[in-house]
């Protein structure tokens, strides 16, 4: 293994948010990460730090992760003030240490929002997102009895746009990055997906109102069109979807 000083190996100072539980006050702790290979992913770097901590009898840093390939949406923290770190269109698990330099201080904080409670350290309770989906983020069909898949043609362009919106991984970076901790991008993406598809139209009005109502109830902030969400979203979901949801809201009210 190469040692620090080499281009492919760096030393870092980590400033990490530690919080024992939801109702306990948290604070920053400083750790050293030595001989970090620049080929490591950010989470692998944390793994190595954690293993050392376990061996020296300390409580390892808790963080959420699962797929480690940018699709499950489990991972995500603020890294030096940026959601999922500085790279565009990248989840934290896909962020690699080659984007850091020897001697850097890296500040790691959980997403902060009234609607997301800290479970421990960097781990959050994001069940509010599930609640929003439960309010109407689906098409109401029971299993069985669906017509042939080709019975309803869907224009290719609509299908592509619906797919753009459906690519959301529910990570919460949009809320984290939003100066108002608003969930409009997440909700807009889901509302959009279904308004773009003919299958979703019968329930469009009900869905938009129900999901927006739930979102408001859960304590997210209000959108002020800062567009930070779009810039930080690892799946680069467009704010076009927010506008589309706004229009659905208007339509629902006026019809």
């Amino acid at each position: 293994m190469t040692k620090a000083g080499n281009k492919s190996c760096i030393n870092l100072k980590l400033k990490v948010w530690r919080q024992k539980g939801p109702d306990v006050k948290g604070r920053f702790e400083t750790y050293k990460a030595r001989d970090v290979s620049t080929n490591m992913s950010f989470l692998e770097m944390l793994d190595v730090v954690n293993e050392e901590m376990i061996l020296s009898g300390k409580d390892p840093i808790a963080f959420d992760h699962d797929c480690r390939e940018g699709i499950c949406g489990a991972c995500g923290t603020m890294v030096n003030g940026r959601a999922h770190g500085p790279e565009k269109g990248t989840t934290l698990c896909q962020l690699h240490m080659r984007h850091f330099s020897n001697g850097d201080t890296v500040i790691i904080e959980p997403w902060r929002s009234r609607a997301f409670k800290v479970v421990k350290d960097l781990v959050l309770d994001r069940s509010v997102f599930d609640k929003i989906i439960q309010a109407g983020g689906y098409i109401s069909v029971n299993t069985g009895g669906a017509p042939d898949g080709n019975a309803i043609p869907v224009p290719q362009e609509s299908a592509e746009k619906a797919m753009d919106a459906a690519a959301c991984i529910g990570c919460g970076a949009c809320v984290a990055a939003c100066p108002n901790a608003s969930a409009m991008l997440f909700v807009g993406a889901k509302v959009s997906q279904f308004t773009l598809l003919p299958q979703g139209l019968p329930e469009a009005k009900k869905r938009a109102l129900a999901m927006i109502g739930k979102m408001d109830e859960l304590g997210f902030g209000n959108c002020t069109n800062e567009t930070e969400c779009e810039k930080e979203c690892p799946k680069e979901i467009s704010i076009e979807n927010i506008a589309r949801m706004n229009r659905e809201f208007l339509k629902a009210g006026l019809s």
Partner: protein, 217 residues
């Protein structure tokens, strides 16, 4: 929630509804600003033109009053809802970040909306006191304008205010269309450009008035 029962209440309760009201009132102000600017620019055509513009405007009588009441209503709505949204947004993140960097979405306009708004409110009050509720029996509006702007302090305040209005509108204009649901990205970039154009027009148009006036007087 009882959607549909009372659409207005529901709209007021919902975040997007409040935003819609902000957008509509804000756009109302934008239209007013443009009209107001067009009127004010008659000053360049000389004293008589300006005074007669003012007279003809006031000759419209009830229409002016109606517009004024409308604007006042818009202003109260815009200010109160804006303040409430600001409060809610503040509450939405009880624990702040140690550091938070701009990812490239925010602009000076968007960051400062509540503050520029507050400043505009202050300006509007002073502005009305100076030009609207001022005693107009023994002097023409032209004279009042000339006199007020001859105070360099006031002229400075006015220019700063206009820059601030421009900043507010630079975000507000396109933002209102986003809120109203224009999702076509082609149109959206058009509105972004228009927002900048309008804010420049407002900034320069109003802001240069005191300078122009100090030249001619």
């Amino acid at each position: 929630m009882q959607w549909g029962l009372n659409w207005f209440i529901c709209t007021l309760r919902s975040s997007i509804g409040k935003k819609l009201i902000m957008a509509l009132t804000g756009l109302g102000f934008c239209i007013f600003l443009i009209a107001h600017l067009a009127g004010n620019l008659t000053i360049c055509a000389g004293e008589d033109a300006f005074n007669s513009y003012s007279e003809r405007l006031h000759a419209l009588g009830p229409l002016v009053i109606l517009t004024e009441i409308g604007l006042l209503f818009f202003a109260v709505t815009h200010v109160f809802i804006g303040a409430y949204l600001f409060y809610e947004n503040f509450r939405a993140r009880p624990e702040k970040y140690l550091i938070k960097k701009n990812a490239g979405g925010r602009t000076i306009g968007s960051v400062t909306m509540p503050y520029t708004g507050l400043f505009i409110l202050l300006f509007i009050v002073l502005h009305l006191v100076d030009f609207h509720f001022v005693e107009k029996t023994d002097q023409t509006i032209y004279q009042i304008v000339l006199e007020t702007f001859s105070n360099p302090g006031y002229a400075f305040f006015y220019i700063v205010s206009m820059i601030i209005v421009a900043i507010h509108v630079s975000h507000g204009f396109w933002s209102a269309f986003q809120t109203l649901g224009v999702s076509n990205s082609g149109y959206m970039s058009l509105f972004r450009v228009m927002g900048i154009v309008i804010s420049l027009a407002v900034g320069f148009g109003f802001g240069l008035l005191p300078i122009y006036i100090s030249f001619i007087s």
